[in-house]
Symmetry: C2
Subunit: 592 residues, 2 copies
């Protein structure tokens, strides 16, 4: 070993010991003939000192150290006269006897500090330097801790961690697969799993009873800011369970994580909300319940006053913003612009200001009397000093717009604190949704999701309005406005499965081609089963109090799906293409 | 929950309880009006009984159950009159009150028993049924346990589990990569990692200090019986360490596994053997030290007697087989045929039989007097009753042939017991090997492997005989004739790295192209570091006492790289090829 202690462990009780440390020079400064060096490793920072009267060779060596040099330092632990209470090692320093430069360093292209001066692209290219920064070191340690605690909880509950293969064939998730050409079987391709869904169900058919895996999944989608082409799931499945059992088991897992990782006690049991309630009250299937500002339907109160924008639509909804009646015209105009952005798509915003003095003003005073407005205010539980915002249109669409507005207002009002955690379960999702483009029913999740037993009458009905009523035995785990995980009880009997395929228009042949082995396996004694998957990257970022999942991934890809450090993807040799029996198609120029 | 107990947990102390079990019908039999059903789940088997005087509906239901039906059974735990000491639940049975068929089953295509009647292909296609068999259930549980214990040991030793990406670019391992065409960057490809070698070294440069990962790796090689295109490594790396530190840490890990998983105490410290000794004495770089039968060089004793086969070669070696002097001519002829197979490639086999009566007979009596033969016998430590076998030729080649013969003899003599564990470290590998085809030096491991510090004089020498003398700071973990893992101390300083590339003929440009980001990262303060990787699949199979790694992989591929259950690889849509800008090349017919 190049060290006998780390840079994070020496304390006042170690004074007098001769120690050897190794690490990186965080910084070095001269002060009245003495040289102070902050030596850093994963475990912390320890101050080294070279006294003014030290041998000249040592003083020279200390003075020649640059930032990020790797050194081995031998010296005696002494008490600091000038203690630093902010550092765990701040009571001591090492009076150096020798310095051994293990490796020099060029000047790094950005500062390796808590907050760096490096731009995103530069830091991505030098990821191995960016990762030396304390926030990223802590992020990967947090991820490690979460993974170990997940495994502990699930192992203790008789789950087996079972690896499923990466070289498989297409999965029924619907997104685009990454494919891998097979050299041994020319003209054919493996697909990388979008999730191990069918494989974990096979493991239940195989009697493995309880399965989990912390596993990479792959989706070849155009990337948004917080999406990665490869991402990590905590993937789980259980046999002989009903929905209640799955919810209890994984509520327990998340409670374990909140307690062990963050020392936070979350509600027990966790709140549950139906999909329909979430849409009505939060305009979202992943409601942020850290704050109120609920959506209220005010259609009857809003209509019949001659205001066409409200009168000619099926739905009018409102939210009350506490204490915002004094927002300026500029601020409400800004909000109007915000909801009109294409990402939200509302046509306009109507407001009522409930003055502290009892006055009521609105942008529709022409149509509504103060009494009419007061009724609307009452419906939203608004009081003096509040601002009421209203949108109208088709019901779900308007609710979603109000939901987006609500989140934006939550941000503007500082109500979305990263150290407050409000998890809940969302249940009772519709099993089907109508696909306007293809004029057919789609399974809202995947076609193995079971209907709620009490909705079987609708499931076997031929009326579209009944099909719409069928709720799934599906559930999402939602935290602070993010879907952290979701799953369902699966269909395990052939009759229910057949009906599912019938409704979504998948014939027996297509079913065989797409899901053949799984459907066949169900003929040989499939147990009732269900499960779910959590997004590990997102769990880490929320637990870490950050919006960016990239900080919690050692080597993330950028928005073009590139790893700029590795230079991947890249061209490959003609020889390799030949072996794979592939040819690159010349790209056509745009406009040709 | 469909059950309140598993099929493995009821004991005599539970008698009188009303319980609900769920599982698969292993078998059912009638006996004097009573029906006995063995109900199976992952946890065990419990006997259910339907009494002759039970309600007719229940008797009928019991009689209609087929093999592998999934049922829920309610009844009372009663003491068995006819106890089965072989089963943990053998003291009790469940007197049934009701049976609920959760799912029927077609008759499975092979028996779901300890030993099945199904052929390999059939079992592969119905892997979800094969996995219900007890040996495979136990195999995956063993794997789970090993993984959890590995993580526990490494976490306790401050290793962080860090995920590295799967969509990377080519790694310097030398085998063929699986590639993944990029849709967003047409004409370019990702490669699936053959190992996270360069990434884990980057993590050391990033100051992560201690890293591990249980991770899938990919090699597109023509498959041998025990090779899989995707396989799992326990991948580890440490900073600020020397070879001794790495050996101690991972010897500790393996000792922990032997103790926790098998309750076996292995030697402490583990034996170590240099590569050169292993080749001389065992003819193998993965010696099986469970038995003796060492190789002895007898060149001086064998030459000069007029026997051309010995006289005209640089090396003659011998092994003594204890108590085998009475092997028949047929047996020795068989051994001669065995060593002449192309897989071994020896020209012939010379033997000496040391009769129990003191007689000495050999296949070369024409050339050697009994006294000459006795001298050879003495050199091999053979005694009365032993058989001595001799091969001759080029030194290393002949040693390898003798090594193969030794393993074969170990098998024939029953000396290779699967419940005996003899691990050891192999050290002091040559750093370079001469590549006859390309007339150049190759790095025996990878070009980041550090030379032993005491061999630096040879490392910087220009004489080929010096280059050959350079040993690597590399090590293999060997168990019972299998390499379970291996690694090295890495080069971390630019000067040593430059010399490495110089010796193996990689110019600066090629080095940049192949290993650019890693070499660049070394300029910014790389710490001394080293590590290793273990093959998890092989560890599992050896711990489980099996030759087959496939039993320890949930969904393995066959020798053609196919998953016959999934039907992967398969053809993909033209649309997908178009999106990837790829065309399939028509395959030329052989002979055209």
């Amino acid at each position: 070993m190049y060290r006998d202690h780390t840079c994070g462990e020496l304390r006042i009780s170690d004074v007098g010991k001769k120690v050897t440390l190794a690490g990186w020079v965080q910084r070095s400064r001269k002060l009245g003939g003495m040289t102070f060096i902050d030596l850093r490793d994963r475990y912390g920072i320890t101050q080294l000192v070279v006294e003014a009267d030290a041998p000249k060779a040592l003083v020279d060596a200390a003075n020649e150290l640059g930032r990020e040099f790797v050194i081995q330092a031998v010296g005696e632990v002494v008490e600091r006269s000038n203690k630093n209470a902010k550092m765990p090692t701040g009571d001591v320093e090492i009076k150096l006897q020798s310095i051994n430069v293990l490796n020099a360093s060029l000047t790094p292209p950005f500062t390796i500090e808590e907050n760096t001066d490096g731009g995103e692209d530069l830091r991505a290219k030098f990821r191995y330097l960016d990762l030396r920064r304390d926030p990223l070191q802590k992020a990967l340690q947090l991820r490690h801790n979460i993974c170990q605690e997940v495994r502990k909880y699930l192992s203790d509950n008789n789950f087996l961690e079972i690896e499923t293969p990466f070289l498989i064939n297409s999965t029924p998730e619907g997104a685009r697969d990454f494919v891998v050409p097979s050299r041994m079987n020319p003209g054919t391709f493996y697909a990388l799993p979008q999730s191990p869904q069918t494989l974990k169900q096979s493991l239940m058919v195989a009697g493995m009873d309880r399965y989990f895996q912390i596993v990479k999944c792959f989706r070849d989608e155009d990337l948004r800011a917080d999406r990665q082409p490869e991402f990590t799931q905590i993937d789980c499945e259980m046999s002989f369970v009903e929905q209640e059992d799955v919810l209890n088991m994984f509520e327990g897992m998340m409670r374990h994580l909140f307690k062990e990782i963050l020392n936070v006690d979350v509600a027990n049991p966790l709140p549950r909300m139906t999909w329909s309630d979430a849409m009505d009250k939060y305009g979202s299937d992943k409601p942020d319940i850290r704050f109120g500002m609920l959506i209220h339907e005010i259609t009857p109160l809003a209509q019949g006053h001659g205001f066409g924008v409200f009168d000619n639509v099926p739905y009018v909804g409102a939210i009350a913003v506490g204490g915002a009646a004094d927002w300026s015209r500029k601020q409400t105009d800004e909000l109007t612009d915000w909801v009109k952005r294409p990402q939200v798509g509302a046509k306009g915003l109507v407001y009522i200001k409930m003055g502290e003095d009892g006055s009521i003003k609105s942008s529709v005073d022409k149509f509504f009397s103060p009494g009419d407005l007061q009724k609307i205010a009452d419906a939203t539980s608004a009081v003096k000093g509040d601002l009421i915002l209203m949108l109208s249109g088709e019901k779900r669409q308007t609710q979603v717009q109000l939901g987006q507005l609500r989140i934006e207002l939550g941000n503007r009002c500082g109500l979305r604190k990263t150290d407050v955690f409000a998890p809940l379960w969302l249940t009772d999702f519709p099993l089907f949704e109508w696909n306007d483009e293809e004029n057919k029913w789609d399974a809202m999740h995947h076609p193995f999701t079971a209907p709620k037993p009490e909705h079987l009458q609708y499931y076997y009905s031929d009326k579209p309005e009944d099909i719409l009523k069928v709720c799934a035995n599906a559930y999402d785990f939602v935290l602070n406005g993010n879907e952290l995980g979701g799953g369902s009880i699966r269909i395990h009997d052939p009759k229910t499965q057949e009906r599912m395929f019938q409704i979504i228009g998948i014939g027996p042949e297509e079913a065989q081609r797409k899901f053949g082995f799984l459907i066949n396996s169900f003929k040989y004694g499939a147990p009732p089963h269900g499960g779910l998957a959590f997004g590990l990257d997102r769990i880490c970022s929320l637990f870490g109090g950050s919006d960016s999942i990239r900080d919690y991934i050692a080597f993330p890809k950028n928005n073009q799906g590139k790893d700029v450090m590795l230079g991947a993807p890249s061209i490959i040799d003609q020889k390799q293409l030949d072996e794979l029996c592939l040819e690159l198609r010349k790209q056509e120029q745009e406009g040709e």
